[in-house]
Subunit: 419 residues, 2 copies
């Protein structure tokens, strides 16, 4: 089976200054095209390390995708290195040059300097992959039956090239069909789930792999199958996936690989209903998750992020007295926040949250991690007290996911009652 | 110099289902301790690949940190593999066993099954690093002068172990001092900046490295130095950093490695002022960025995320007529949003944004990427029309960062006038 390695280049990856999102995205695209990613390697802007990585990864893999180090400054050494690695000499690519000129004239609207023109230079041993979103061209090399493709490290520019890269790869190699099925469960731990579906797992044929992806209170299960008979592979995995869904039905949230905000959003949209949010401790994160979904305006009106007492009073009509007596993190306040948001925005459903996510702010009776969540509609507000024991970032994520799940369950119960 | 490699294990990393945030965080911690990370490698849950990665990385590096594959289910093979790799046999670790029992009884509050108890098994050839945040113990192995440390892939659990790991490493090796200085510029492109500080760059001694980290309209510059004389290294890099700051002073935003929301937040806090936001297209993302900073309640009141027309009218008193005539993405509406937020929340400063971030929603006179930003206070509202040409996610980030920068400049100008 044809296999790929991804090499990402940049010191910033090795000192942890940036998180590498490129290789996850590239891996997804390769996977969809039937190309298995064997390894991902990150190396610094260091000649010997990049050279060694090219040697090593081409021993492992047939396809080596490289990002980073193509900028116009002195620390960018990928291009001269590739030029030497593939025994070329640097020449101006006319199409790339025209592209650089156009970008400076029309998009950036400023004059060019020498180093910008140099962006259009490429080794004469490569085929150029044009960069429509930036100045650094991509480069395609072949050596001993292996393909090496170098792309810029800027995610938006790299993403703009991948379609052409994958289409070129597909004419060079024959790829099998890789297919996945993913479902999401809540309310059962990884080890219990594994015990519960032991029989199912042991009955799986060898070419279908089951993976557990636990994420604090939620477990994703993923089936993966690979083969050359597209139709047979799809049919077979679907049968196993149907069985798996039945087995875990008690805890099943969705049978797609989608985040909780999408599950709740789709449920709302299917009922032609809209929701709003009132957020204290999560500070707009729930709103951000929901509005990250294109088209979310179909089911989402907006949010009041009431970080201060004042904002809770002014925007959500929370009573000053309740705030003073019960404190912002209380059942009473979160209920008033939910009612206040519904009264002002008049959506069908509401989520309100107030909690202490850390690192500071804990109280003897309300330790860090205490969160009150209210979900409901104009007829009924339901409250839940939850406790998370993680850091600020993780507590924020958990609060958001749990709140969206609680609203999902409320809507399902609500609709059942109506029906 | 002692060098480290990080191996992350899991099929989910190779199909792009999750983004690897662990290795960036680990790299940061190692760096602070003076340990240079040479490479980062991700491999799947496959016996041969993990084995090969251990062989290869221990050729490159002295320290090999491994995360992932320690769970209780069948796809987790790291522990049996390490047991074989280091010629051990699995034995129960009593402290780890007690920890597993405690977590199930006190934290999870549910009974254990066989596979949970197995979590307390470790190879007898390792030293156990106890996991206070989960059930899978860490394992420390030594072989031919190299150190291998295996930790769980769950970020919160891994993070809880790193302090002990680094402290143990520091007794095994002597590390040099690694130091960085980072500053942020806006308003000048990477190539122009590079041309501008050419002289400075060519005068740098060989052991000080300058890196450019461009990020659409902002460029971070980072100086890195390594050496054994802590004091001399710090003194020298600071001198170069002072010079660099003077050279780029026209475009300098901050001389620390901090995000824009922190820069603006610190400025507000230093003046004892607070801000609020009114967000349409960014859907709570600006609020989320700000509230991700612990202690942000000192300078932040809250946000109105007015995703629908209705929410703009009800919460921000935007006129229905203006919305109908000018549309939500207009100078008039964003100005009214800013004034509405200030009137209701009564903060000192405000940011309001309304735009079309894509992928859909573009109009002939307002293409995707058009964003109106208003910043100001009760005396003056300033508006800016910006245009971003990226995808939804990137456009959202750019809108947020630019809005925060525009408010920063407004505050500086505002204070100058007052003074």
């Amino acid at each position: 089976m044809t296999q790929a390695s991804i090499i990402t280049i940049g010191d910033e990856l090795l000192i942890g200054q940036v998180i590498d999102t490129n290789s996850a995205w590239m891996a997804q695209q390769l996977n969809i095209a039937g190309i298995k990613v064997l390894r991902r390697v990150a190396v610094g802007d260091a000649w010997d390390e990049i050279w060694k990585a090219l040697d090593e990864e081409s021993k492992h893999a047939d396809i080596i995708l490289i990002t980073g180090g193509l900028g116009p400054t002195a620390d960018d050494i990928t291009k001269p290195l590739l030029n030497q690695y593939f025994n070329g000499k640097l020449v101006i690519d006319e199409v790339a040059l025209q592209n650089v000129k156009t970008i400076f004239e029309k998009v950036l609207n400023r004059p060019m300097i020498e180093s910008n023109l140099k962006q259009a230079e490429v080794p004469d041993t490569c085929t150029v992959i044009q960069n429509k979103r930036g100045t650094a061209p991509g480069m395609w090399f072949e050596k001993d039956g292996k393909v090496f493709v170098s792309m810029p490290g800027v995610p938006y520019e790299m993403k703009g090239m991948m379609e052409e890269v994958i289409s070129k790869l597909s004419t060079h190699f024959i790829f099998p069909h890789i297919t996945h099925r993913t479902l999401l469960t809540t309310g059962i731990g990884e080890s219990f789930l594994s015990e519960y579906i032991k029989q199912f797992e042991s009955n799986l044929p060898k070419h279908i792999k089951l993976a557990y992806l636990p994420n604090y209170g939620m477990v994703r299960l993923r089936l993966t199958s690979v083969g050359f008979d597209h139709i047979a592979i799809e049919k077979e995995i679907q049968q196993y996936f149907d069985t798996l869904q039945q087995e875990v039905n008690n805890w099943l949230v969705t049978n797609m690989d989608e985040p909780m905000e999408q599950v709740t959003g789709k449920l709302l949209a299917s009922k032609n209903k809209k929701m709003c949010t009132a957020e204290s401790c999560t500070g707009g994160y729930i709103a951000h998750l929901i509005t990250s979904i294109p088209g979310s305006s179909a089911f989402y009106d907006g949010s009041v992020v009431s970080y201060s007492y004042k904002a809770k009073e002014d925007l959500l009509h929370v009573s000053k007295e309740t705030l003073e007596i019960k404190g912002a993190v209380s059942e009473e306040v979160v209920t008033q926040m939910a009612k206040g948001a519904l009264a002002t925005i008049q959506s069908d459903y509401v989520i309100a949250v107030s909690g202490i996510l850390g690192p500071g702010g804990g109280l003897p009776d309300k330790p860090v991690g205490t969160v009150w969540i209210a979900v409901g509609n104009k007829n009924k507000i339901e409250t839940h007290k939850l406790y998370f024991r993680f850091d600020r970032e993780r507590n924020t994520q958990l609060t958001a996911t749990n709140a969206l799940n609680l609203l999902r369950k409320f809507i399902l119960a609500d609709t059942d009652t109506v029906a």
